[in-house]
Amino acid sequence: MKAKNKDLWVFIETEKGRARNVGLELLNPGRKLADRQGGKLVAVIIGTDVDEAIKDSEAYGADHIIVVDAPEFAHYTTDAYVDAFTTLVNEDLPTSILIGATNIGRDMAPRLACRLKTGLTADCTGLSIDEESSCILWTRPAFGGNLMANIICPDHRPQIGTVRPGVFKKKEPDHSQHAEIFRKDICIPEKRIRTKLVEIINELGSELVDLEGAEIIVSGGRGVGGPEGFEPIRELAQVLGATVGASRAAVDAGWIPHAHQVGQTGKTVSPKLYIACGISGAIQHLAGMRGSDCIVAINKDPDAPIFKIADYGIVGNIKEVIPALIDEVKKIKE
């Protein structure tokens, strides 16, 4: 497939009509790449009652916004979203597409890329333009973060990548900016949607766990000792304005819901500050958090592997260290 223009598309994932952070984050690197490509920055919104998401996409800098707004897109389904997205791409044939590497993005993107018979690079943590080929240079970790790879898609268009949430930061919104809006009528017949939602099991109640968008994460592991051991962790997180994370050991023990899990079988995070409490640092956990800007480890075992990748470490009992930290944070916040 040949591109018809030099535009770069960013998929704006929505939840109840509002843009999720990752799409707005991607408008930031998206702007630089679109300018380098010499094309427009286009936000693509698929959902139901998405006016809020349209306003946000304007404020965060999209030139054009393509909107598909219909009831069948209220809840994500692979079939409806991939059909709609493919229709949009085939009409406009952009050069590049960025998609957030969320559960939904990672479900949709490979299906879309395969239908378009083009290349897809997963879970990128770096985006630039390859001087030699003028293609997007996708940088991504592999082997659980032990190896990085630079990947290009030279001969197929659009070139598509999923990008990890939290890696790029949102720009300051400018609510005076306006974009040209293109509404598309796309209808997906019900029989085309081959999955039916039976039940949503909300483990979190009204609690919001946005690990991928968090600036600070306080995580607990086996060393917290039990479900009650997460109380001081939550308190420290609260005084820091942080999100609570957990290692697989703590989740498997049933001390905290899975939505909090960081690591290979949980979320991959890249906050400004990651505080690991009572986490030994199994390689599967490190794979999920080694991209953090600053890592603090608190563990009573001085030989725990977590200290090897930590910027700062305190060797000590978390039951004593965490309350002391809470006091200190409260002092500086006053």
Partner: protein
């Protein structure tokens, strides 16, 4: 149920070390294992077989001759038949090319084993970490897909799948045939017995090459892969690695918070 499980043999990434001189991965002496998520996929299949009489599990992998060892491990923990897809022409395939070759090989395997109702894959391989091959296989087959599954059971003509989502789990009914990619379930994969290992070792594993099934090698291997790896490198992370050891926890905490504020992290 007639179930196919797609697996991959991978280096045990927990054993990988970096050569500090050359800044490259040391692969020598690193054991090969069945990709962790694929063992979860196989266990999910085996649990369906446990409660649905007359079910059969077939495993396939695309890889070198030594990947037969990975298939044998699967035969020892619930799989009934195994096929190796092996051809130089398939080497260097990216996810698009892999999804294509697997879909074509699957059609051939169905000639021997009958049509599959469910195709399980691991969520992702622990070496490439892409999570793309399952959905790309589903697309080639035009089957519905469910990703991030933690459990699956047969409910009439549908498969009922519990999958991870941001707030917990969703339960979906999906029509069969379908492709389901599996992450860490609540249970651990079963262990082989001495007897099942011996049986697995004796099981013949047929090899399918590009001569054996209808596949256009222009869409396979390096040639057929739209993405190209331009360079690989080992990430260098400059870590301060400051260990704070004051007399008391209070003093250590105070120092940590001061260091974090001085560095403008707090």
């Amino acid at each position: 149920m007639n179930i196919l499980v797609c697996i991959k043999q991978v280096p045990d990434t927990t054993e990988i070390k970096i050569n500090p001189e050359t800044n490259t991965l040391i692969r020598e002496g690193v054991p090969s294992i069945v990709n962790t998520f694929d063992t979860f996929a196989l266990e999910t299949a085996a649990r369906i077989k446990d409660v649905n009489n007359g079910s059969k599990i077939v495993v396939i992998t695309m890889g070198p001759e030594q990947a037969k060892n990975a298939l044998k491990e699967c035969l020892a923990v619930g799989a009934d038949k195994a096929y190796l897809i092996n051809d130089r022409a398939f080497g260097g395939s990216d996810t698009l090319a892999t999804g294509y070759v697997l879909s074509k090989a699957l059609a051939k395997v169905e000639e021997f084993e009958g049509k599959f109702d469910i195709i399980f894959c691991g969520k992702q391989a622990i070496d490439g970490d892409t999570a793309q091959v399952g959905p790309e296989l589903a697309e080639n087959l035009d089957y519905p897909q469910v990703t991030y599954a933690v459990d699956a059971s047969v409910e009439g003509s549908n498969l009922r799948v519990k999958k991870e989502c941001d707030i917990g789990y969703e339960v979906l009914d999906v029509s069969m045939p379908c492709v389901v990619t599996v992450t860490k379930p609540a249970y651990e994969p079963r262990y082989p017995s001495i007897k099942s290992k011996m049986t697995a070792n004796r099981t013949d594993i047929p090899v399918l090459t590009s001569e054996d099934f209808d596949v256009d090698i222009l869409y396979a291997g390096l040639k057929g892969s739209p993405t190209k790896v331009k360079k690989t490198f080992v990430p260098t992370v400059a870590k301060n690695n400051i260990i704070i050891k004051e007399e008391t926890c209070e003093a250590s905490s105070k120092k940590l918070i001061k260091l974090l504020s001085d560095a403008a992290i707090l």
